[in-house]
Symmetry: C2
Subunit: 511 residues, 2 copies
């Protein structure tokens, strides 16, 4: 990689893929942001059916280039054709889901208060509120989902659905795929009649920082590391005009196994846990990084076997692989930590590309509380920490010491352990965005009820999700019209409801 | 005022009111925050009907102390018994409105996705989402609404409705009223069975800063100045764990009058405008600070007469009065600005308390664009700037130069000027939270459709409102339950819907 370009590297071999992709200059970022500003009112003003058409046009265009996308994606990420093919389906489904959301119009959250001369403390005028697009949005693509959380991923889809132009900062780990996806998206938007400036992709860290500080940008979507996300959050928050920064950073995703679950199905828990934390070489934001087991669980031999026989996969890039090797080795040096399966330095040898073998350590709950660093920091990759607790009280005390997470998982016996289960579910609801029962957190459904978020450091914005229908809410803000004549109102708020959208109408003379 | 206490002062006379109220020590803030943390799960777990009861109990208790509240409030703020009595009604109505919101349960935004084995790219589990309280909330009271935006105001009411304990930072301008209101609220909460620690009031700037940085606090509501709000926003954003900061800061609230409106009803526009910007001695966040008139409007004599004969009222405190005198005088020194009615230095003389007389200046749109500072900074108090524009294009160009506002107002002829009107309404929707037609922005209805917010610097959080039903959304975040057995789910998500709340249920086998 040169200093002013991103070079894709093949994780299977460590060899370059294609040509370097040049970083975007500050002047070019400025030009693209100006174009996005120009596009914003026109995009916002398109009929909703046309806006939905843009999303469907992108979905179809990606599907049409499936083979090229999967091949280049695998070459740059090593995630495998099966996974990438499935991720492409997800990416398409996300775009189509948001097209349906736009068609439905309920996302506009239209509320009409008819006048009320009897209201206290003063008569109420005619008030009609709807949500409108924020303006140009910056999207930072993730390394670990090169399609579904990247150039044409959920942030981009939800921002378009909201009616916002998007400038994507590509991830340096898959620059060729980012450029390819960008070309496909732009062509699809052009074909569907989107205004010029609706979409652009930029490359390079400096371009990303310029983007976050640019006056044209009204919000940022980000998926990535705690350190990188915090730095950009601080940039966004310290602007002369601070803007919302929706960052998904790091998450430990604790999973708790009660004595009842160990007794009833200890071996299945082991299989599920190891499968989940080593899936995709441990490169999921929902990886269960902490497994709470009752002391004396007797599952250590099964855990050691399962981890030792888990697949050795390539990691996304050398920096991530090195970080995993370093972080995983570091865990083993913490007082009280014992290695169940040590990280293999040999895997990271010449000729293996960016391969990494899974590892696993164990620690008592007391030692975890005594040494929160680095045990309570996310280690990206196929490693996890087994935490052995003595009593229910000690378990809850230790959970209280955890930072916020995207998910929290519980394996328990709902009948014999009901009081403990209730206590744990209540605790989970305070610290996590999704509570998983008798399963594993990897795998995030893209639906209306999904919430992919959580308290800091899981995200920078605990009210919001980056997955599912509600993700659109990050990019729309309310505007209320007071006593505006019907013919001058946006169609969404006119008396006859010409768009036929769901609305709440409050009539003081009704009921 | 001593260094470690707030002393209420009578704006009519400049004399002290009652005894100084001591500032709260850091240790005491810490103790109150710990109590709020303890209260949080218990408050969150109260049945919704009981939570609604807390709000109604506070409303009734305030009403029962009406005479004492209005008398002390007038002595400390000079806002007058009529206004304060009306503000107390509003405060009560807000509490009762949120009680109804809690009773209804729709604010929980419960969404249920039933399992879908056919979903792409993977089968969908059972997912049930609802909103849960964030945790303890800090509320910074405003100087200019000592009841409705203060100790028991909208921020506090919406946070309680969300299920969050509240620690209020009292405004130093009405410390006695803050303490009185605080006692009334605490007693009402105790009587209604709220957990200890649900509510507290602290005094002093240092206590406020401690509060914003305190690990127990999960969000901040603020109404006040741009400088003070920005400083606290920066504190909240620079925490090790940043938290949402909902600040309503400063707003110019432009009002545009077209040639058609001048011709049709120029004198009424003058009367309405002067009445609105001098209302309450110009101490409203929705004060129309900029009036756009077509060059050659011919209304200057009427404006001068109306301003000169407007009431001279006391301002809230000496600091605000001095800031008004200084800021208003400063406007007159900007190149191109002419005084229609100069600010009267004599009004601020001995014996007048904190009285201030209204003033008004005028400037061409070109000079405004050339000298944005201080013309485009809010000057709190009874002053405004008339901006004279040449053409529709120049008008829009000048509006493009304005910062975000809470409101934007239009006086026009909807028939003969329809294209201009549409252009202006579209422009307003990009920069303001509320668009007022043929009226004035002072006076904010507390309803479902109301939006009291806007882009920076009107607020720090353009997605949110501090007035109306939606204000509750600032203090609740989503949690989704995946495959959790029905009996272990929160009642709001159980299959039988025992709470009888509105829910969205998505059944893949239906329809």
């Amino acid at each position: 990689m040169t200093a002013n370009a991103d070079q894709g590297m093949n994780p299977y071999t460590g060899d370059p893929v294609g040509s370097p992709v040049l970083h975007t200059s500050a002047a070019e970022v400025d030009r693209l942001c100006a174009a996005a500003t120009s596009a914003a009112p026109e995009l916002a003003g398109m009929p909703l059916t046309d806006r939905a058409g843009l999303l469907r046009s992108i979905a179809a265009a990606l599907e049409a280039e499936r083979d090229a996308i999967v091949a280049l994606g695998d070459a740059e990420t090593g995630l495998g054709a099966t996974r990438l093919s499935s991720e492409l389906v997800r990416t398409r489904v996300q775009l189509e889901m948001f097209a349906s959301v736009v068609d439905d119009g309920g996302f506009l959250d239209a509320v009409i208060d008819l006048p009320d001369p009897a209201a206290l403390p003063a008569p109420r005028p005619d008030l009609r509120r709807m949500l409108v697009p924020l303006g140009p949005v910056a999207v930072f693509a993730a390394s670990n989902f090169p399609l579904a959380f990247s150039v044409a991923g959920g942030d981009t889809a939800s921002a378009f659905a909201a009616g916002c132009p998007v400038v994507v900062k590509a991830h340096p780990s898959h620059p060729g795929l980012s450029a390819l996806t960008g070309r496909i998206v732009r062509a699809a938007l052009d074909a569907a009649g989107a205004p010029a400036g609706t979409f652009a992709v930029v490359h390079g860290e400096a371009a990303g920082r310029t983007l976050v500080r640019h006056p044209a940008i009204t919000a940022v979507g980000f998926t990535g590391s705690l350190a990188g996300g915090r730095a950009l959050f601080d940039l966004a928050s310290s602007r002369p005009d601070p803007i919302p920064f929706y960052g998904e950073l790091g998450s430990l995703n604790p999973a708790v196994v009660t004595p009842g679950a160990v007794a009833a199905r200890g071996p299945q828990v082991v299989t599920g846990f190891v499968g989940s934390y080593t899936l995709g070489t441990g490169q999921f934001c929902t990886k269960p990084g902490l497994l709470f087991l009752p002391a004396g669980h007797g599952l250590e031999p099964l855990l050691a076997d399962a981890v030792s026989s888990a697949a050795v996969g390539p990691m996304l890039n050398s920096r991530i692989r090195d970080g995993y090797q370093r972080g995983s080795s570091g865990l083993a040096t913490v007082p009280g930590v014992r290695e169940i399966v040590a990280v293999s330095p040999a895997t990271a040898a010449e000729g293996n590309g960016f391969a990494a073998a899974p590892s696993l350590v164990a620690v008592s709950a007391a030692d975890l509380r005594a040494n929160p660093e680095p045990l309570l920091e996310e280690c990206f990759g196929p490693t996890a920490v087994v935490v052995e607790y003595g009593s229910a009280d000690e378990l809850v005390e230790t959970l209280d010491a955890l930072p916020g997470s995207l998910t929290a998982t519980l394996h328990a016996d709902p009948d014999s352990e009901a009081p403990l289960v209730r206590r744990l579910l209540d605790r989970f609801a305070q610290g996590a965005g999704r509570i998983v029962w008798d399963g594993w957190p990897t795998g995030v459904a893209v639906t209306a009820a999904m919430h992919h978020g959580g308290p800091w450091p899981a995200t920078t914005a605990p009210l919001h999700t980056s997955v599912g229908v509600s993700a659109i809410r990050r990019f729309i803000r309310p505007v209320v019209y007071q006593n505006v004549p019907d013919a001058l109102l946006p169609e969404a708020l006119q008396a006859a409801n010409p768009l036929g959208i769901p609305r709440q109408v409050n009539d003081p003379n009704a009921g």
